[in-house]
């Protein structure tokens, strides 16, 4: 069954919070938060100033804020993003502009884990 979707067209601006279990396509502007059970697509001319949360995210527009995805966050070549991105997989395509922090799980070889643990202990 298709999840109910939401589309915010180019000429629409939302100031507030948007929540929903389905997918959202943002072609307009949101100042506030977006929390979805489904996927978020910020289209090329879409703008989000605020935090977002979703299953998978495709960002082709402007985002300033933190984004947390259950699966992946992909920045397309027109993306302009500033904030912290957290997901299983974060993909920055050529042309994407990003400034901030990325957090994915990084599996390091065993021989490095000891070194890192020592570093953390000495920094603590």
């Amino acid at each position: 069954m298709m999840k109910q979707g939401c589309k915010i067209a180019r000429g629409t601006a939302v100031r507030g919070n948007v929540t929903g279990p389905g997918n959202l396509v943002l072609d307009g502007q949101v100042v506030g938060t977006i929390a979805l059970g489904g996927d978020l697509h910020i289209a090329k001319r879409g703008t989000l100033l605020g935090n977002s949360q979703g299953n998978e995210m495709q960002i082709d527009g402007v985002v300033e804020g933190n984004a947390v995805a259950h699966n992946s966050i992909t920045l397309g070549r027109h993306a302009r993003v500033q904030g912290k991105l957290k997901a299983k997989s974060v993909i920055l395509n050529p042309g994407a502009q990003f400034s901030g922090e990325i957090e994915m799980d990084v599996i390091l070889p065993e021989e490095l884990l000891e070194t890192l643990n020592d570093k953390e202990d000495s920094n603590a």
């Binding site: 901030g100 990325i102 070194t115």
Partner: protein
């Protein structure tokens, strides 16, 4: 120059040519050209180069004049600074990314202060990264060290070549 998979270099590597690392490096890399960290390589270093392509493991900050690319096999913990950063699907990364000023747009995004990642020429910060094994190792007479091309000046504390 290629640092082969059986080689471990500890120290500060400076060079005017492209460098490919297949082995292990601990320390600082200051390169005028390109760096390629291969799939099996493990690098614990602060890196500065023209272009950096990563397919192996890097723990450390990377600063590139042009582009940093993390291929699907890359495993990186550290901060990235370059005008262009590409992270492919499959790559694992944790750290900050700074591509410089974001283009102005209608919304006038405030720009975060540029993060300057300048590797500290002194080795003080990474002493704890150096393995004690390497510093003990001295060049023994029969040891065949890989020839270091004149394009590279290497200040090495110890070069350990592991025989497989």
């Amino acid at each position: 120059m290629i640092l082969h998979s059986s080689t471990t270099v500890t120290g500060h590597i400076q060079g005017d040519d492209d460098l490919q690392i297949d082995g292990r490096v601990n320390g600082i890399l200051t390169l005028k050209k390109n760096l390629n960290v291969s799939k099996g390589a493990i690098v614990q270093a602060h890196i500065q180069a023209q272009n950096v392509v990563v397919s192996g493991v890097i723990v450390g900050d990377i600063s590139a004049h042009k582009k940093i690319e993390l291929t699907p096999y890359a495993r990186v913990i550290g901060n990235l600074q370059a005008p262009q950063v590409v992270i492919s699907e499959g790559a694992q990364f944790k750290g900050k990314v700074d591509m410089g000023n974001l283009e102005d747009n209608q919304e006038a995004l405030p720009v975060s202060p540029k993060m300057s990642v300048t590797p500290n020429p002194s080795l003080a910060g990474i002493e704890d990264m150096l393995s004690t094994e390497s510093t003990r190792m001295t060049q023994s007479p029969g040891n065949q060290l890989p020839p270091i091309s004149t394009a590279f000046k290497t200040i090495i504390h110890g070069v350990k070549r592991r025989l497989l």
